[in-house]
Chain length 281, copies 3
């Protein structure tokens, strides 16, 4: 862990390693299997602001310390919340739950690529945290679960992110049955993209990050925006916006360098040095 | 078939077996391969009302008597309809067709899990009836078909339900080519979720229903609503609604029992007895 | 190539072979690997008008002359465009880019089935051209690539079409990493539907076209419209429109012939002769 970037970490519950082009963020509450306390959720939201402001960043890599990715919500906190009184306008339980969803929204809206490296368990909210990322690399002994309905609650904030990955039909079925999935099953359901032995997690991540390093960062951000709009806008509106993005990129100096580098069969000038990868788990 | 619940059956064309937590509904027009007469469609819509009103229900299981799931529309009825005269406001053919779609909408909107067990043929409208369910368990010799275009008609009301399962690209291609699919092909296309030998249908269904029995029924209903909204609402709106659902569940007594049962490693109090499963076919 | 239909070709950059029920269109700029010049894009858009006007047409088949499907945009044209000056209202780069997207929209909106036969490379815009089709049949040594971000530009106009095929998650990841995919990888990602050795391309295409030939052409067009609306309209609105389409088809003479032919176990009267298939590559 590079201590020179320790100042980027808004809470000791997160270990943040900023490198040129890449951010490595580790949930660091191993004694609770990285269960999502209010402070941890707020810390993740704050890290997103730092990453979004780093115009050289290509990727954010999320992982969990101590062998597990994330155990999801704190049940102790649930019991505590049950004894609160709902206000006239707001129920503190709804506010609590929505804040977690707002953090997932920020991750999903990040202008850079997001990668979750899942070891051990990704339970409930942890499953949603992984699902909000663009890429999920899982250890072959990792476990994904959405046991909410069997506890009398619901996979509320994570549902849209799981639906985007697994599709509504599969996501609904998994949620209604309180699914517990081995890594291979999670991959078949679209919740994991790559499944490898723990010893190969670094290699798989390294391959992905080197590939992302070839991307010109302004173009990478434009591409994330363009894909985001295809989900929200009617087709002609999305295409109009994409044409403006395209014009902006071509008038930006980088496109000329990219085309020339391609013709000269050399790496483009913007490629960052290979990152120092964390150890897993 | 449990005769004590026979009163729930709105027509002899449906055999309805209501058990604690589960409804088993069998299309019962075997001499016509369970083709969808107007009465059968109306009966299915009415059963949906009963199921929706049963707050203990976890699942509705649909199957077909006599070896086939459902042959789709009645061609005799098509020929009859061709000789009607369209009104100024309404065409009786459109009204007929739309009523079938309204029944599919009710099945898709049910607040409980829906499972189709497909033996023999699921043709046209029968393919759509299965597609409208959350889960399709098919016998390995089952056949799915959408031959409409080869007959000069279109898979009109079933299209959205098939698209939701297979995706627009695959659904379109299957429909344009009047597809006839073996069970394994239907599974590859997303039209079936599980394919097993006929002798293992009961086992596969039983496993699914036991899993659904672990769900607290209020939480199961909330989860279906939450997933439904992710398809209709913008992300922040869906997350706001989900937070309110979550608060409602936590203030409902069941969540406390669920968390306590989980900590005590015992089954929660709401689990129904294992259902008596029908024979297939 | 049937010269009797040469008049349908709006530019020598396209070889057009119109047969009863089928249109075969080949990109014909082999010295540039069929890179998409302005003239080629305009020609494709014009061919779409002819195909849409042919009420007997079931399918348009797109392929590339000289071994490659399509190399995408012309980099020389990009460099030329960089030296233009943006107007107050319009940037000529955005106009150029959007015209390509408008052509893809026309292909995607065609009232007949669209099939891309991909040999060699489908790069960038060429990858999008294939993705806009209903069906992609690829040679097993074909390559698909979206290298835009590595050149400092973005897969702007093709993004929605790639997203529709691969899903947003996979499409985004491929685009952010400047993906280069072998045919089997493209198939796994949803960018190709069928992958066969080059020598079997004709056979695979022939099977598809014979199947489409069984479709009554009015019913085929209605089915494409119905599926299109499921993507754009709320469910009840889409079902209302589908019911009207269904009534129109049943009042159209062809449905009676279709049902009678089916009962008599003979081919319906509308089936065109088997097409003469092009050679690949």
């Amino acid at each position: 862990m590079d201590t020179s970037f320790a100042s980027s970490s808004p809470t000791p519950l997160l270990a943040v390693d900023r490198q040129p082009g890449y951010w490595f963020v580790r949930l660091n509450r191993p004694e609770k299997r990285n269960a999502l306390s209010d402070e941890l959720v707020a810390g993740l939201a704050e890290v997103c602001e730092h990453v979004a402001a780093d115009l050289e960043a290509r990727a954010l890599v999320l992982s969990g310390a101590g062998g597990h990715f994330c155990a999801g919500a704190d049940f102790g906190r649930f019991l505590e919340l049950m004894s609160t009184t709902p206000g006239q306008a707001d129920d503190p339980i709804a506010v609590y739950n929505r804040q977690f969803g707002a953090m997932l929204e920020r991750i999903a809206a990040l202008p850079v690529a997001t990668v979750a490296v899942v070891t051990g368990s990704a339970m409930g909210g942890g499953c949603g945290l992984a699902a909000a990322c663009d890429r999920v690399i899982a250890a072959d002994d990792a476990k994904f679960a959405m046991p909410e309905v069997t506890l009398g609650v619901a996979p509320a904030q994570i549902a849209p992110f799981v639906v985007r990955r697994a599709g509504a039909r599969r996501a609904r079925w998994l949620m209604l049955g309180g699914a517990r999935l081995a890594a291979a099953e999670a991959q078949a359901a679209g919740l994991a993209d790559v499944v490898v032995p723990v010893t190969e997690l670094r290699g798989a991540l390294g391959t992905d990050l080197l590939r992302l390093g070839l991307a010109e960062p302004t173009a990478l951000r434009a591409t994330k925006r363009i894909v985001g709009r295809t989900l929200e806008d009617p087709l002609p509106v999305a295409l109009d916006a994409a044409a403006r993005e395209f014009a902006g990129l071509l008038r930006h100096g980088a496109a000329r360098e990219g085309i020339v580098a391609s013709r000269e069969r050399r790496a483009p000038s913007w490629q960052p040095p290979p990152p120092r990868l964390p150890e897993f788990p």
